[in-house]
């Protein structure tokens, strides 16, 4: 990945990924909501060695703007060969249960806006028969749990969307990489008490790029989540529905 658009570039995982990409000499187009913070990430990236860094402040929930966003990024970097899609919200399960507006926002941000952007980008990558789409989903999308099923559903839908996209783009030589992090120590989880299961954004970023380089299909980062989720997925539903998870 030498010309990469990073969506949600001010998120902790994206920032860590941007640093690694910058050190490798990739050109970057960064998108996020806050211009001042984006500029801080952009300057960090160019100081660390990215030959070209551009950024654009945009609320990615505005799906109408996606086509022109991708066109601008394409122009700015002279084409794209990589996508890191990292924007998302955790939401609040209780609030999402009480209010559809809250739930809809989670689904819109994590799934609908991602699907819209990926449609735009996948069509271009399919046409050029090259490129890597790296998308951050979540272990929460593997099975719905009462404690966060709205977030889980948004990520689960995203994972299924990516499966289909991968199936479609395989013949064009475009890689679609689904990254499923477990708990990550970021501002998104600042309120959650930390334990040994938490990974750092740097750890996730390294795992993400390793998977992208190897053109993997689906990866859990850190890898032990594959085992945890295997167990969680194999619990029979009659038992699972009685668990407090």
């Amino acid at each position: 990945m030498k010309k990469v658009i990073v969506l949600g570039a001010t998120s902790a995982i994206a920032q860590a990924t941007v640093r690694l990409l910058a050190a490798r000499g990739a050109s970057l187009y960064l998108v996020g909501r806050n211009a001042e913070n984006l500029e801080a990430v952009a300057r960090d990236a160019s100081t660390r060695g990215a030959p070209k860094v551009e950024f654009r402040a945009l609320d990615l929930n505005d799906c109408e703007a996606h086509a022109s966003l991708v066109e601008r990024a394409w122009q700015a970097l002279g084409g794209l060969d990589g996508v890191v899609l990292a924007h998302g919200v955790l939401g609040d399960q209780d609030e999402s249960q009480r209010s559809w507006a809250a739930a809809e926002l989670v689904l819109r941000t994590n799934f609908l806006s991602a699907a819209s952007l990926l449609t735009e980008l996948a069509n271009r990558f399919e046409a050029q028969k090259a490129g890597t789409l790296v998308v951050i989903s979540s272990v929460a999308g593997d099975r719905g749990r009462q404690s966060n099923y709205v977030y889980g559903a948004s990520k689960g839908a995203l994972s299924v969307f990516l499966q289909g996209l991968r199936n479609r783009l395989a013949k064009s030589g475009v890689a679609v990489v689904t990254v499923k992090p477990g708990f990550v120590d970021t501002p998104m989880t600042a309120h959650v008490p930390k334990n040994k299961l938490f990974a750092s954004p740097e750890q996730v970023a390294r795992g993400l790029l390793k998977a992208a380089d190897a053109r993997k299909n689906e990866v859990y980062v850190p890898g032990f989540w594959a085992l945890i989720m295997l167990i969680i997925r194999s619990i029979p539903e009659p038992v699972f529905k009685r668990l407090k998870l």
């Binding site: 801080a40 100081t47 501002p187």
Partner: protein, 463 residues
């Protein structure tokens, strides 16, 4: 989030931690007092805030600009010296001043006005800081430099993080021609030997420091190894290359607190004896990469854990040249007599280059640093004795390495403290500051376990 400790792991206090993410964000407001906290390499309580909130600066770790033609680097305050070195060393630039660990932040280096092995040549870190932004709890942001707001600059350099939050800073780096250092090791047989070698070395060597065998007594008191070095020229002579087993990334780490029996008089004596005699009385010359030369201890991650869960006390003093010989002799004698001897004792001559910081610790004279496992009252009494010797010699003790100096000692060491106090941010405080200024307690009801204003005597009772 588990509350961060200081490097000496004493005292342990109850405090909240609040991660900072963006330099444009406002400071949190509330009743609790605030204190910036970087990588927690201060040894005592100057990086702790019992009952208050630590502002964790590790998220403010973005680079802003680096000009490889002028060597000026601008970065957020939470950027570590390690990060700066990785950026600048391959491009022919180096830190103008570096302490013995690269795992400190730029903000921490400013707040403690750190010094290195080149103090006689380059002074403190603060001399090389061109400017920084200071964010106060009232929301104001000041650009501070020698020209803009010079008083805020003077108060904040060495100001222990109490004048507000440094959000970003600009530092002038120094050029190097390659990343290797020509290092010479010269054994000296006693304290007089140290003074002689030190005098001889300073004119021709950028970096000087001495390790002292703190168990040697009598005629051998103060014997040790003198290290001096210069960055190698671009086309260097052929010299035997020291391969360091403990270079960066070796992954060597102390995985847990070592039990107390691992560290006793015998093991420390054996270590010191071996260390001294490794040299076999001969001077030697080597080419060493900057990493093991400047940061030998960084290779062992978490080395502070060898002292066990009770932690340890560092003691670093500086004494003026006039009284240095007698004072250093007395400190070494007392520490050899009393309690568990120090593992690593380090002697160095400070030059007379002044720091812009009012509260800066380094001043002309001889500095001696030692560490002592925390064995309760015995250790405390010993270090208090060493403090008294320092005070009587007209010297000072380093706040970044202190967990116990008295308010009287602090007042004697830092004559500018009253002027400094008027620049404190009213919302900022630290356990150290409350301890050495017991009358000016800003928020007495918020004292956690009461380590703040309590005099050392009751601290003894705590442990």
């Amino acid at each position: 989030m588990s509350p961060p400790d200081s490097w000496g792991r004493f005292p342990r206090v109850e405090q909240q931690a609040r991660p900072l993410v963006w330099r444009s964000d406002a400071l949190p407001s509330g009743e609790r007092s605030l204190l910036p906290h970087g990588l927690g390499r201060s040894y005592g309580d100057s990086c702790l805030n019992a009952g208050g909130t630590l502002l964790l600066t590790s998220g403010l770790d973005r680079l802003i600009d680096f000009d490889p033609t002028t060597g000026v680097v601008r970065c957020e305050a939470g950027v570590s010296l390690d990060t700066l070195l990785r950026l600048c060393a391959p491009r022919g630039w180096f830190l103008p001043v570096t302490p013995g660990t690269k795992f400190v932040t730029v903000g921490g280096a400013i707040a403690n006005d750190v010094h290195g092995k080149n103090h006689h040549r380059s002074g403190t870190f603060g001399r090389h800081v061109r400017r920084f932004e200071l964010l106060r709890s009232d929301g104001s942001r000041r650009m501070c430099s020698a020209e803009e707001n010079p008083d805020w600059f003077g108060a904040t350099v060495g100001g222990l993080g109490l004048t507000g939050l440094v959000t970003w800073a600009e530092v002038q780096l120094v050029p190097i021609r390659n990343p290797f250092v020509v290092q010479e090791t010269v054994p000296f047989e006693n304290l007089d030997g140290f003074f002689r070698v030190s005098r001889e070395s300073e004119a021709d060597h950028e970096f000087t420091v001495a390790w002292v065998d703190c168990l040697a007594r009598g005629r051998k008191l103060g014997r040790g190894l003198f290290y001096r070095g210069n960055f190698a020229p671009s086309q260097f002579e052929r010299l035997p290359l020291v391969k360091s087993h403990l270079s960066h990334g070796s992954g060597l780490a102390v995985p847990m607190d070592l039990p107390a029996f691992c560290l006793n008089r015998l093991s420390v004596a054996a270590f010191n004896l071996l260390y001294y005699h490794r040299q076999r009385g001969r001077p030697s010359r080597h080419l060493v990469h900057y990493d093991p030369f400047f940061y030998p201890l960084d290779a062992v991650h978490g080395w502070n854990r060898i002292y066990g869960s009770r932690g340890f006390l560092q003691f670093q003093c500086v004494v003026p040249h006039a009284t240095a010989r007698d004072a250093v002799k007395e400190v070494l004698e007392r520490s050899a007599r009393g309690g568990l001897p120090s593992f690593l004792s380090v002697l160095k001559t400070f030059g007379d280059l002044p720091s812009p910081g009012w509260m800066s610790f380094p001043r002309p004279g001889i500095t001696l640093a030692m560490d002592f496992a925390n064995r309760g009252e015995k250790t405390w009494r010993l270090v208090e004795d060493l403090d008294r010797v320092t005070r009587e010699a007209g010297g000072a003790v380093y706040p970044a390495k202190d967990a116990r100096m008295s308010p009287e000692s602090f007042a004697a060491y830092f004559p500018q403290r009253e002027r400094f106090a008027s620049y404190l941010d009213p919302a900022f405080s630290s356990s150290f500051w409350r301890r050495v200024n017991p009358v000016s307690l800003p928020l007495p009801s918020l004292e956690g376990r009461g380590d703040g204003a309590v005099p050392p005597a009751s601290l003894l009772a705590l442990r």
